[in-house]
């Protein structure tokens, strides 16, 4: 038999090496620690008032960035959504440093509970935390928000429940667990109405999943949509595009 039809050592070694390389490559991708950038803290926060030029209600919603920033990056999230956690860990800080702190973009944090049973409850926790600290210590809201996503990333399934959120809340400096608990008990219906408005706004913008984004130039009225955990470059392109129009 000629070499073309026999099992040669060279091919066996090649195949073995390629198989090992393939396995090692997958293992590397699987364990590569996410380039989590938890040290970032936005320079400015404010609370929205009234509807934006795009008709999205911002009253009582936390907004990261300068109130006069020319571009809105509406961000719909769900604390149970793994791709939202990925966006927060990998991309949000870079957008923050390059666009938010530069005064070009502000990010209204909107909620689109859709993934699991606890999504809506998690969203109520969020708004109650903001109501408690938004005015005096908005950085505490930012830390709480980051802690919840950290908890999601380091847990398996079914991690979200009252006990876990209570523990997270207690662990964040500046947030009073008892004040948030009493808000959850007394303000639940009002907050749920507000959540329904967030979801309705997302749906009318054509967003069906999280994380969902709408980029909107407040001066020229140009808008674009992004859904999913996109790499940073796609946000850069989308923001630059509405800025250029």
């Amino acid at each position: 038999m000629d070499e073309e039809d026999t099992i040669t050592n060279r091919r066996a070694i090649l195949a073995g090496g390629a198989t090992l390389g393939f396995g090692a490559g997958v293992a590397y991708l699987a364990t590569r620690s996410p380039s989590s950038d938890s040290s970032y803290e936005p320079a400015a926060f404010h609370e929205g008032t009234g509807a934006s030029g795009l008709g999205i209600e911002l009253s009582g919603r936390p907004i990261v960035g300068d109130p006069d920033a020319p571009v809105d990056l509406y961000y719909w999230t769900d604390y149970l959504c793994p791709f939202c956690a990925r966006f927060e860990a990998n991309t949000l800080a870079t957008i923050g440093r390059n666009y938010v702190d530069a005064g070009t973009v502000r990010i209204p944090f909107l909620l689109y509970p859709n993934i699991g049973d606890y999504s809506t409850s998690a969203a109520v926790w969020d708004r109650c935390v903001w109501e408690q600290v938004g005015e005096d210590d908005p950085a505490a809201y930012w830390n709480w928000h980051g802690s919840v996503f950290d908890a999601q990333r380091s847990s398996g399934e079914n991690w979200a429940d009252d006990e876990r959120f209570g523990a997270i809340t207690e662990g964040v400096e500046g947030v009073s667990r008892s004040a948030v608990q009493s808000c959850r008990a007394s303000r639940r219906d009002a907050i749920r109405d507000r959540l329904d408005a967030d979801v309705a706004a997302a749906q009318s913008a054509g967003i069906r999943g999280t994380p969902g984004f709408v980029v909107y130039n407040r001066e020229t009225d140009q808008a674009g949509r992004l859904v999913g955990a996109h790499p940073y470059e796609n946000f850069e392109t989308a923001i630059d595009r509405v800025l250029a129009t």
């Binding site: 038999m1 073309e4 039809d5 026999t6 099992i7 040669t8 091919r11 066996a12 090649l14 195949a15 390629a18 198989t19 393939f22 396995g23 997958v26 293992a27 991708l29 699987a30 364990t31 590569r32 996410p34 793994p82 791709f83 990925r86 990333r153 399934e157 999943g209 992004l226 859904v227 999913g228 955990a229 996109h230 790499p231 796609n234």
Partner: protein, 191 residues
């Protein structure tokens, strides 16, 4: 009776061994198996979150490497080492199975036998079981996915068993199974 079973098992194991070694018998075959393996892996991983993949690729096809790296991590986070190992094993076996199926098809075409029907069911059945979870998700049956035991791990194990069965049954694609095509191709096995 037990002796017969044992002999049958030994024959199947030998067939499986020669089927798995077949891509090593040619540079083009080895390359083909490699490409099929990578393609299967990409397809399987991307199909774990079809909605995300669609959004990503609709926007920019070159983001596919980003998608594969993100979703590999996600598969590991949701189904652990076992789930990820199954996907890798599945991709490797599919690479071999596709190479062998191509060889079988070429041989049967040459010998004029009506062979396609004998090969395709194995590949298709295995393929369906592997990406079944992804296909269900793509069709919007996320509830069905959740209802699958162990998040589709059982389905993947079933797919791998089917693939192994197909490979063992077909053996080295250069040998003839009894009753197909007469004696023209018999005895080509290099042993």
């Amino acid at each position: 009776m037990i002796g017969v079973d044992r002999r049958r098992f030994r024959t199947a194991a030998a067939d499986l061994r020669s089927a798995l070694a077949y891509p090593l018998t040619g540079d083009v075959r080895l390359l083909g198996a490699g490409i099929a393996t990578i393609a299967t892996y990409v397809l399987l991983v991307l199909s774990t979150y079809p909605q995300f993949t669609r959004q990503l690729l609709e926007r920019d096809l070159t983001d596919v490497t980003y998608g594969v790296s993100v979703l590999t991590r996600e598969v590991y986070l949701t189904s652990g080492w076992l789930g990820l190992a199954l996907v890798v094993l599945y991709a490797l076996l599919t690479g071999v199975a596709v190479t062998n199926a191509v060889a079988l098809l070429q041989r049967r075409r040459r010998s004029g036998a009506t062979g396609v029907a004998g090969i395709l069911p194995g590949v298709l059945a295995a393929g369906c079981a592997s990406c079944g979870a992804g296909v269900l998700g793509a069709l919007g049956f996320v509830g069905a996915m959740a209802a699958l035991p162990y998040d589709g791990t059982l389905l993947r194990i079933g797919g791998i068993a089917l693939l192994l069965w197909f490979l063992a049954r077909a053996g080295d694609p250069r040998t003839c199974s009894i009753g197909v095509g007469g004696g023209a191709d018999a005895g080509v096995r290099n042993e």
